[in-house]
Symmetry: C2
Subunit: 208 residues, 2 copies
Amino acid sequence: MAATQSNDPGDHAKVPRTARGRETLRKLLDAAALEFGEKGFHEASISGITRRAGTALGSFYTYFESKDAIFRALVKDMSAQVARQVGEAVAPETAAFDIERAALHSFLDFAREHKEIYRIIDEAEFVDPTSFRQHYETTAVRILDRLHKGEADGEFRDGMEEAHAWALMGMNVFLGLRFSVWSESCDAERIAGLANDMLRSGIGRSGD
Amino acid sequence: MAATQSNDPGDHAKVPRTARGRETLRKLLDAAALEFGEKGFHEASISGITRRAGTALGSFYTYFESKDAIFRALVKDMSAQVARQVGEAVAPETAAFDIERAALHSFLDFAREHKEIYRIIDEAEFVDPTSFRQHYETTAVRILDRLHKGEADGEFRDGMEEAHAWALMGMNVFLGLRFSVWSESCDAERIAGLANDMLRSGIGRSGD
């Protein structure tokens, strides 16, 4: 799963064997994020990517065989970056609700730094539906694992299932769209806290 | 706002003055939903739309000046259809949480009947960003109105704000993607009930 392959663009790119190769691959993926994010898939070009990366065209073809291939690798890479960033934000032994708050806060920060992620993942729905679907399915599995762990710890109520994970993912994705990509006018910590309260005890007055 | 203009495709189409004209316009929009949903914006064609609608090419140009224009009108129309469908599912005097459950159930049903809605709204992010943004902003305003009403009725707790509306919208949109568009394996009523419990009292064990 992409979630566990942080730096590995998977079967879409040759895996570099040297530190320098890994650095070149990283530069190409970062450049691709900017190029696809700014121009969209159809207008983006391989030469635009290598220009931004400051690499030779030959280096591109060492790792990717086409614009499609680097786009697929990029979706997988961004999916893994989100997973890694969220994972790093959470100390071991953190209580389950605090994990969810930290995960959302960290995602909001990530989306502020990488606003292009929405456009890229969303465009995958059209350019590469398999990657699009895989991104959300993988993320939902990761969230459901956390929900089951919180259930086992006695912090979440019993019966957590896939639909809870999708509901939580949808909350986070839409809060990121509104409060990270479209506008940063609200404090990310405040948004994460508000969503965490909602997750913790809902919006009912008496909490019944 | 699109939410209040159910049958009016807005400033993107000429408004028909006769019942027959309204019927033709409806046929064109329904055909456009199928054509754009199946082929995507770029591959879709005006002749494909009129063929599906069983109307003459001239009728198309009576109402729309281009493929872009009918796409914009369609996004607005689908946004309004969702609003109308959800509105009709709710009897006056329904309690606030029951309104939310009925709204989600009705949306899940709508998305099962009109799976193309996701592809069309999502493609608007690239083809017509203004319509895309307007769809979600309008929907969030409508949800926030309901949240404020539930707050005034004493059913929701105080302090409902825009972020709550976006979180709820995200839950609903993602549940629709997973349980209406990708697979109908789960009962829509059950999913709506599960999400409603989550909204009502969160996922905390003690509800604190």
